[in-house]
Amino acid sequence: MNNDTILSVSDLRKYFTTAEGVVRAVDGVSFNVKHGETLALVGESGSGKTTTGHVIMGFYPPDGGKIIYKGAYELSIPMKKRPLELKRDIQIVFQDPGTSLNPKRLVKDIISLPLLVHRIVDKSRVYEKVAELLEYVGLSEEYMFRYPHELGGGEKQLVAIARALAPNPSFIILDESTSALDVSSQARVLNTLVKIQNELKLTYLLITHDLGVVRNISQRVMIMYLGKIYEEAPTEDFFKSPMHPYTQMLLSSIPTLSEEDEKIKPRGIESVGEIPSAVKPPSGCRFHTRCPFTKQICMEKDPPDIVVNNNHIVRCWLYA
C-alpha cells in the first residue's frame, strides 16, 4: 500500500439473504482511495455502490475481503466495536436530508451532538462552534434556531454537511448527496463541497449515478455494475475515452444541454435491456446480456483487469 493511500479495499464481498435467494450486492470489489482526492463510484440502482459505502461506514460487516483505513485500522469490524477515534474520522452525508435530519431538533442541536460526543470543543463553546460551522457551509447564524422543515432542500443538505464536518473527519462518504436536490441548490452544495475539501484537505468517496456531477468534482471514476467494478480511470481520461461498452452506454444515455456536451457522448451504442437480478447474475461478464459486442468468451469467463495506460483499467474481453 502506498503512503498516499487513505483507504484500501480488496476483494470486498457483501451478500444479503432474501426470500428469492442470495443477493450478491458487492461481489469482489477492490480499489484504493488516495489522500485528498474525490473518487467517484458510479452505477445505476442495484449496482451495489451504496452497499459498498455502507460497509465502509460499518453499517454491516462484509462477507469477505479486507478494508484497511490509514494503514492501521481494519474496517471489517462492525460500527459498535470501532474505536471512537475511528468513528470520528469517517463521516457520511446521505441522499435525502428530509429523512437524515431529526425533524424534532433545532439545527443547533443537530450539529452540536457530534461536537459533544467526540468532545471537539468545550461545552461552553459549543454554540459558538455551531455558528462557525454553519457559516463555513454558507449559512448564517440565524439558521441555528430553525427546524429542518423550515429549510429548503439545498439548505437542509448544507446542514447535513456541517454536521458531518463537526467532528473534524478526514474521510467523507457522499452517498448520492445531491441527487434529491434541484439543480439550483445542487450547484450551491457542490461548490461548498469543493471549497471545504480544498481548505480542509478532505478525502471524498462520491457515490452517485450522475456523471455530470462526477465530471465536476471528482478526480477519478469507477464504474460499477451488478456488484463488480468494470472500469476505473482518471476523470479527464474517462470522459475523453470511455472504454467499457457499459460506460459508453451510460454516457450516451445522458440528455445533454449543448453541442459541446453532445460531442462527448460515444456514438454507435444504444441503451437496451434492463439491469438483471442480482440473485442470479449472468455468468462471465455480467454486462454480456445487454452488450452489443458480446462474444462467446464473455458468457463464460470473467474478464481480466486490462491496464490501458498507467491509470486507466478496464475489465472487458474486447480489449484482451
Partner: protein, 322 residues
C-alpha cells in the same frame, strides 16, 4: 392552436389558510408541437397539468382564468364533455407509476378498463377478444416484451422501467390529440430513461401528437421539445423556442438555472440560487422571484412584471427588460 391558457390562477384551500399557487399562468400549444415546462420542484408544474384535465384535488380551486382546448373553455365544460376529452383526446403520464397504478388489480384489468371506456365513448361495446387484441397491441407499441405475462402481472411484479412503459401505454390509449408527461422518467436509471424518452419521442411522431413535457431535468427538455416555458413559483417567467431559450436566456432565473447545470464537457458550475421557493400562503406581491434575484430592484418588490416581447419568438416577464 390546440391549447391556450390565459391568466390561470389556482389556489389550494385548507382549514387555516389558502395557498395561492398558480398566479396568472399563460401557455399555448400548437397542433403537433412539443412544448416543455421547466422549473424547480414546488413551482406548480404538476398543478398546471392537472388543471388542464380538471383533475385537481378537492381543495383545489380555480378563481380566475381560461383554458381553451380545441376552441372550448375546459373550465366551463360539463362532466360529460370533460369525460369524453379525458378518455379519448388528452392522455397523461404520471411521475410515479407505483402511485398511479392500482396495486390490487392486474395490468390486464386496468388496461381493459381504459380501453373499454374509450370504446364506449365511441359508441361501441367491445368483446373480450377485442379488448385483448387492443391491450396486446398497445403493449407491443411501447415495446414491452412478452405482453401476455405483463397482462397477468400486478404492478409490483414489474420493474420500474416496465411500469413506466405500462403508464405510457395507458396514456396513449386516451391521447389522440395531446399527451401530457409529468416528469416521466424521474425515478428511472439513466439508461432506462434514455429508452423511455426515445420511445415517447417515436410514438409522438408516429401518432402526430402534441405534447407537454414537464421536467426539472433541463437536458431532457432541451432534447425533446420545440418550445419551452419557464415556470417559477406559479408564474411563467419566460417563453421561447428551445434553442433560443437555452442559448440566449433572458430572465435571471432561467440564466441561473442553466448555469447551475453540471456539464460533461467542462468543469465548474454556477453559484446556484440561494433561498427557497416562497411560502404560497403569503407569496411576494411583486415578482415572485424577487427575494432570490441577484438583480432585484425596488419595483420588483411590489409590482408584478408584465409580458415583454424581446424578439419574435421570445417573451420574458421581468422588469429588467421594461
Amino acid at each position: 392552436m390546440l391549447l391556450e391558457i390565459n391568466d390561470l390562477h389556482v389556489y389550494y384551500k385548507s382549514y387555516w389558510y389558502i395557498l395561492k399557487v398558480l398566479n396568472g399562468v399563460w401557455l399555448r400549444v400548437d397542433k403537433g408541437e412539443r412544448v416543455g415546462i421547466i422549473g424547480e420542484s414546488g413551482s406548480g408544474k404538476t398543478t398546471l397539468l392537472k388543471s388542464i384535465l380538471k383533475i385537481l384535488p378537492q381543495n383545489g380551486i380555480i378563481p380566475r382564468g381560461e383554458i381553451r382546448y380545441d376552441g372550448k373553455n375546459i373550465l366551463k365544460l360539463g362532466d360529460n364533455e370533460l369525460t369524453k376529452i379525458r378518455r379519448k383526446e388528452i392522455g397523461i403520464i404520471f411521475q410515479d407509476p407505483m402511485a398511479a397504478l392500482n396495486p390490487v388489480f392486474t395490468i390486464r384489468e386496468q388496461l381493459y378498463d381504459i380501453i373499454k371506456h374509450k370504446m364506449m365513448i365511441e359508441g361501441h361495446n367491445p368483446s373480450s377478444r377485442e379488448l385483448h387484441e387492443q391491450a396486446v397491441k398497445i403493449l407491443n407499441d411501447v415495446r414491452l416484451p412478452d405482453p401476455e405475462r405483463v397482462l397477468e402481472s400486478y404492478p409490483f411484479q414489474l420493474s420500474g422501467g416496465m411500469r413506466q412503459r405500462v403508464m405510457i401505454a395507458m396514456a396513449l390509449i386516451s391521447a389522440e390529440k395531446l399527451l401530457l408527461a409529468d416528469e416521466p422518467t424521474t425515478n428511472l436509471d439513466v439508461t432506462i430513461q434514455d429508452q423511455i424518452l426515445k420511445l415517447i419521442h417515436k410514438l409522438v411522431i408516429e401518432k402526430n401528437l402534441s405534447t407537454i413535457l414537464v421536467s426539472h431535468a433541463l437536458g431532457m427538455v432541451y432534447q425533446m421539445t420545440d418550445r419551452v416555458f419557464v415556470l417559477y413559483a406559479g408564474d411563467i417567467m419566460e417563453e421561447a423556442g428551445t434553442n433560443e431559450l437555452f442559448n440566449h436566456p433572458k430572465h435571471p432565473y432561467t440564466q441561473l438555472l442553466i448555469s447551475s447545470t453540471p456539464r460533461l464537457s467542462s468543469v465548474g458550475v454556477g453559484e446556484g440560487i440561494k433561498g427557497k421557493i416562497p411560502d404560497y400562503r403569503n407569496p411576494p406581491p411583486g415578482c415572485r422571484f424577487a427575494p432570490r434575484c441577484p438583480y432585484v430592484m425596488d419595483k420588483c418588490i411590489n409590482m408584478k412584471p408584465g409580458k415583454i416581447q424581446v424578439n419574435k419568438d421570445h417573451v420574458v416577464s421581468c422588469h429588467l427588460y421594461d
